[in-house]
């Protein structure tokens, strides 16, 4: 339906958008909140479930209602 209406999917479906820069930086938009945050693991609540980001010395640079930026060494990104 989103395709047919030519609308951006993140708006229509409310799915998260992840932008990766190498493995040092992740930008996340359209999320609901943080479930867990340690230096090795960040769990983020999104509409369709959860995103698990594992890595080393992860840090949340900033954190607003619309987006957040994570820096550190990202090793894995999983959906569950």
């Amino acid at each position: 339906m989103a395709d047919a209406a030519n609308l951006p999917k993140d708006v229509v479906l409310g799915v998260p958008i992840l932008t990766l820069t190498g493995h040092y930086e992740v930008n996340i938009e359209n999320y609901r909140g943080i479930l867990e945050y340690t230096e090795q693991l960040i769990r983020i609540n999104v509409r369709s479930g959860q995103i698990r980001i594992t890595g080393k010395s992860l840090e949340i640079n900033y954190y607003t209602t619309t987006d957040m930026k994570i820096t550190g060494k990202v090793e894995k990104i999983e959906y569950s």
């Binding site: 943080i34 479930l35 945050y37 840090e59 949340i60 640079n61 900033y62 954190y63 607003t64």
Partner: protein, 419 residues
């Protein structure tokens, strides 16, 4: 850029580093996010979180803290408001800072330096004194500088300056000029109203003469006396009956090689003074502002004769922004004059060195030395190098010639005479 801007704004407004502990700190983070509270540099620290928060957002935290049952503690206070608060007792410091800023603003509205580039024929001082006459000098207000006017004035005053650019950079007025080095030569060539002769500057024998302009009066091999005309700038114009009808004036031009005899003498006194340091030293300090000098230290040095080294230091805020104040440091050492006599060998070396330099100078001018009988003599109180040199080289100097009574020959006159 936005990152930098955010950093500056946060610093100006002040921010806090807080530590959040408790049952579910994540819930606290999500609540903050929901209420639009901006958090940054979030970092987990042993079961708690540390983050930065703005001061005005911190005041809104109370209900959220209660709801999430978290414990919030301020670990650091950063930014300008906290800095000022911490040092609020130091009134003089803040007054000083404000005065400094005001002074920089005030002083930067004046010209503190005039820099002139590209002047080869005229020194900076000449141009600066000309500018001073026109009211352009160090210390004047920047808004009174009229760069177009300066450019025009300089071009009007100096004929050989063909291009001028003036602009203000910081508190420095920069003037760039370009000179025309060919101008003088052009003028002499076009001037032919009066004759210019080539005359002998000394006695000699002409070895070679090639005339380009003017009438040669001497030949190869002829002996000439000082002041004799070699090439005349007035060329006779004759009519059919071989009478002089008039003169055509020219600036003479010729290559003349002549043999001349020159006497050489160089005298060296046996005793000569040298300055010896006695070991006494002293330091004086001046503070220099435009037109004034303030001395720190003794007015008179305790010894009459001394060697001094003066260094001047000017403080620059930036390369083009010198402060109008500079410091002069003078280090002086007492020195006494002592008379020492040369040994024979030293004297000989000095005299021969001088003679070699003299010869080298001549050779540079294109003069050849064909004979040389200069010898070094030892006298009671002095040494001397004396002798005669026979030289052959360029000869003759330009001199204004005499204007003849007969009319200046022009085309019309000659035509008439011819008919």
């Amino acid at each position: 850029m936005t990152k930098m801007l955010r950093y500056i704004l946060n610093n100006l407004a002040g921010y806090l580093r807080i530590r959040v502990e408790g049952y579910s700190p994540e819930r606290f983070l999500n609540l903050c996010c929901y209420h639009g509270i901006f958090l940054w540099n979030l970092r987990p620290a042993k079961g708690a979180y540390e983050m930065n928060i703005r001061v005005r957002d911190f005041r809104r935290l109370r209900p959220l803290v209660r709801k999430s049952r978290a414990k919030v503690r301020i670990t650091q206070k950063r930014g300008v408001p906290f800095f000022i608060h911490k040092y609020r007792g130091r009134k003089l410091f803040f007054t000083g800072a404000v005065i400094a800023i005001c002074l920089i603003f005030l002083l930067s509205s004046f010209i503190w330096k005039i820099q002139i580039d590209g002047n080869l024929a005229r020194t900076d001082e000449v141009l600066l004194s000309f500018l001073a006459e026109k009211g352009i000098a160090c210390g004047m207000a920047k808004k009174n500088v009229d760069c177009d006017r300066i450019e025009k004035d300089i071009r009007m005053e100096y004929d050989d300056i063909i291009w001028v650019s003036a602009y203000v950079h910081g508190s420095c007025l920069k003037i760039k000029v370009r000179e025309n080095p060919d101008r003088k030569e052009l003028q002499t060539e076009s001037e032919a109203e009066a004759p210019m002769d080539i005359v002998a500057e000394a006695d000699g024998i002409i070895q070679k003469i090639i005339t380009r302009k003017g009438a040669p009066l001497v030949r190869e091999g002829s002996e000439v006396k000082k002041g004799e005309i070699l090439v005349s700038g007035s060329v006779e114009v004759k009519n059919d009956s071989d009478e002089v009808a008039g003169y055509r004036y020219q600036v003479s031009d010729a290559d003349i090689i002549a043999q001349t005899t020159v006497a050489y003498t160089d005298i060296l006194d046996r005793l000569h003074p040298i300055w010896k340091d006695t070991g006494k030293k002293s330091l004086r300090l001046w503070i220099e502002t435009p037109g004034r000098l303030y001395l720190f230290g003794r007015r008179e040095l305790p010894y009459p004769e001394y060697n001094a080294l003066t260094c001047r230091y000017t403080l620059y805020l930036e390369r083009h922004f010198p402060f109008p104040v500079s410091v002069r440091v003078e280090q002086s050492k007492e020195s006494r004059k002592e008379e020492i006599s040369y040994t024979d060998r030293e004297a000989r070396e000095i005299l021969s060195y001088n003679f070699e330099k003299f010869c080298a100078r001549l050779e540079k001018k294109g003069v050849q030395i064909s004979e040389n009988d200069v010898k070094i003599y030892r006298e009671t109180n002095q040494y001397s190098a004396k002798g005669e040199l026979v030289l052959s080289g360029p000869f003759g100097t330009l001199q204004k010639g005499t204007v003849h009574e007969l009319p200046k020959a022009d085309e019309e006159n000659i035509q008439q005479e011819g008919n």
